[in-house]
């Protein structure tokens, strides 16, 4: 790539041709303030805070959109530039309500930081105090229009990153307002509460309801981890203070590129189920709190009574790899007991899992078969919608009604799978997204695309890939089971998972939350909560992703490894 030589504040800089002054300045470690610019969003140049002076040009120009040229001389903090920035700040502060004293974002606000930087100790223009509404119709976050500076980061995040196109603007000039769809309240709109807009907002206009006023950036810790809500394994940052997870933000450097979904960002913190923090043992027909020693005793005797042929073990595919390995080692390896998977498995294990989100970006044709990414793997769904915006064609083959059907160019029944496969063959860089609704026979028909297309599985459980590697499959039935151990952890048991299930003589459940299954159990072992565990799982790209412990365990829960380490000692 050709290079361009320029001077920024007298410092010689070499920047790639076509880059902006802002990009060149960052190479030279010169700090130009920004508001509407965001590194992951297209530049707009709407806020004018990044204005710089270019030698031999009469006007100031925005650094975020102005391209560099050979011999350019730029001043980023000259008296003229500083005066203009102060003027821009004055205008921004005079528009709406920017009183920091009662704003949730005070201390973390990009607008406030700039006012401090340019020593704004008074406002040059009195605020007209327009009465602006607050839209609190969404469950998880609200929009206070009076804090909005109309930078349109939210709008670009909604369209360009989440590809949801809910946000827009209405009116003109000083009356401009951010709005949803055709001016609906957010609660009624097409908003999917992915929260990407919330994360890019530079001011206190978009506020997370749960964590509001609970801690500023300087007072919280951030733990990088992975979302285990589905098999995408999106990069997240858990914002933690005082042993509590305040909120979930996204890790912009990972494959999800800053986008999360409601299931990963908000729902994990909306835990309404009762936590299990101590071991429980059934005595006289009642589940009663017990010590770990008592619980292990009860477990060992329950398993011994059913041994050798009557024990069955089943794990959720949401359990992390280290725990799942330990579980299989103990039951299959040591005890010779068959181990099953709780969640349904994908048909067509011969199909590869060689595609990733980057392949979706580059695809010209995407075949979605037997699943709905917008329901089960939403960030992948948004990525597919993004590909559609860029011109990719999406065909949907499904026997059910799906959300994705609104965006697909063609919707076919499962019987017409062959025509979709034929179309796929003619495409340049196709991607096949396949889900659990496919039978083995239909998966076999897709297998013809191996080598031609990249495959992305919609695994029904986050760590289903590991379960597949370990050879775990859903059990056909439970006849003959005298004792059953369920490694449930935080998974929410769904209908049909335990087929023809009848409570065996002895039932032990390892779980983090109370459920109808734990209520039936003879022994309940407290698991770590989702934010207390540490380990890895294999995501849909076939990569190991890390899950980090965000807070110290609050109850008496043990990790799966610790449980089976102790249990091994007891059984020998």
């Amino acid at each position: 790539m050709s290079k361009v030589n320029l001077k920024i504040n007298g410092k010689t800089v070499q920047a790639p041709a076509g880059s902006t002054i802002l990009e060149a300045a960052r190479l030279a470690e010169v700090d130009i303030p920004v508001l509407c610019h965001h590194p992951k969003l297209a530049n707009l140049g709407s806020c004018r805070i990044c204005l710089v002076e270019i030698a031999r040009q009469p006007n100031l120009h925005p650094a975020c959109t102005y391209p560099v040229f050979e011999g350019m001389e730029v001043q980023t903090e000259s008296p003229r530039v500083v005066e203009m920035r102060k003027f821009v700040l004055d205008m921004l502060f005079s528009e709406r309500n920017h009183h920091c004293m009662y704003c949730e974002m005070s201390g973390d606000c990009e607008l406030q930081n700039l006012a401090y930087r340019y020593r704004m100790d008074r406002w040059s223009f009195p605020s007209p105090h327009p009465h602006m509404p607050v839209d609190a119709t969404r469950k998880y976050f609200l929009l206070d229009h009076s804090r909005c500076i109309l930078c349109r980061r939210c709008l670009r995040a909604c369209s360009d990153l989440a590809a949801n196109h809910t946000l827009g603007v209405k009116n003109r000039g000083a009356d401009t307002m951010i709005c949803a769809d055709m001016d609906l309240s957010f609660g009624e709109s097409s908003c999917v509460s992915c929260g990407t807009c919330l994360e890019v907002c530079p001011t206190g206009a978009l506020v997370d309801r749960r964590s509001a006023y609970m801690g500023r950036t300087a007072e919280v810790q951030r733990v990088r981890s992975s979302c285990a809500a589905c098999s995408l394994g999106c990069g997240v940052e858990l914002v933690v203070r005082g042993g509590q997870v305040l909120r979930v933000e996204s890790d912009w450097d990972r494959h999800n590129e800053g986008v999360l979904c409601v299931a990963g960002r908000f729902e994990p913190l909306e835990q309404t189920r009762e936590k299990i923090t101590r071991p429980l043992v059934r005595r006289d027909g009642q589940l009663q709190e017990a010590t770990w020693v008592e619980a292990l005793d009860a477990l060992v005797s329950g398993l011994r009574q059913a041994a050798p042929g009557g024990i069955r073990a089943v794990t959720s595919g949401a359990v992390l790899s280290e725990g799942m390995n330990e579980f299989v080692n103990f039951f299959k390896g040591k005890m010779g007991v068959p181990v099953h998977l709780l969640e349904p498995a994908l048909a067509g294990s011969e199909l590869a899992a060689d595609g990733g989100l980057k392949d979706v970006d580059a695809a010209d044709f995407i075949l979605v078969a037997g699943g709905d990414p917008l329901a089960s793997h939403r960030v992948l769904g948004y990525r597919i919608k993004r590909a559609i915006d860029k011109g990719a064609e999406v065909w949907l083959v499904s026997g059910k009604e799906t959300e994705m059907a609104h965006f697909a160019a063609r919707c076919l029944g499962l019987a017409e799978l062959d025509s979709a496969v034929a179309h796929c063959m003619e495409s340049r860089s196709p991607v096949v997204v396949y889900g659990a609704d496919l039978t083995a026979r239909e998966a076999g028909r897709l297998a013809r695309l191996r080598g031609k297309a990249r495959f992305i599985p919609l695994a029904p459980s986050p760590n289903g890939h590991r379960a597949q590697v370990l050879g775990l499959e859903p059990a056909a039935g439970w006849a003959g089971a005298k004792a059953l151990f369920v490694l449930l952890e935080s998974a929410l048991l769904q209908e049909g998972w335990l087929q023809e299930f009848r409570r065996p003589q002895f039932l032990a459940v390892y779980a983090s939350c109370r459920s109808p299954l734990t209520d039936q159990a003879d022994v309940v072992l407290p698991a770590l909560q989702w934010y207390e565990r540490q380990g890895t799982f294999i995501n849909m790209e076939g990569r190991n992703v890390d899950v980090h412990q965000a807070v110290e365990p609050g109850g008496e829960g043990w990790s799966v490894q610790k449980l089976f380490d102790r249990l091994s000692g007891c059984m020998t």
């Binding site: 009183h99 920091c100 004293m101 401090y116 020593r119 100790d121 008074r122």
Partner: protein
Amino acid sequence: MSKPKIATDWLAACAGCHMSLLDMDERLLQVLSLAELTSCPITDLKHPPHEGVEVGVLTGAVNSTTNIAVARMMRKRCKILVALGDCAVFGGIVNMRNYFDMQEALRCAYVETPSTVDGFVPASEELGRPVRARGVDQVVKVDVCLPGCPPSADAIFHVLSELAQGRIPVVAGETLKYD
């Protein structure tokens, strides 16, 4: 040369800025060794002396005709006027009232509050008339602005000791806070 004189007064304020002034603790003595405090709402002498002071300090927003009169008197009797705190500088939390109709706001405050019994909106001739809330600089010229809700004792000490020594203080860095 005699010590420069300082006078303070409050407008529509919660008194927090004056509490923060007291928060200077033993540094109050340092300020008083450099300057004379002639009057202050929390001392016996409430009004700035007729002969004038070098530094006048106002806290709180302008909210009524009384506030306007107090601000004008202070402006007339001081050489350098300091607006101290978010309310004096920007209008602060008092500005929130501007989002409501004045009669509605008065009724809410004097009649409808749950703790009020037989409430009525006071209408005595002696009282000031409420006006649109605003910062002090929209009524009189202000020379030094120190925002903060309230400004820290350190910031107030910095501003007063600079002024007492004949310098115009620079409000920046740790001294400049809006909350």
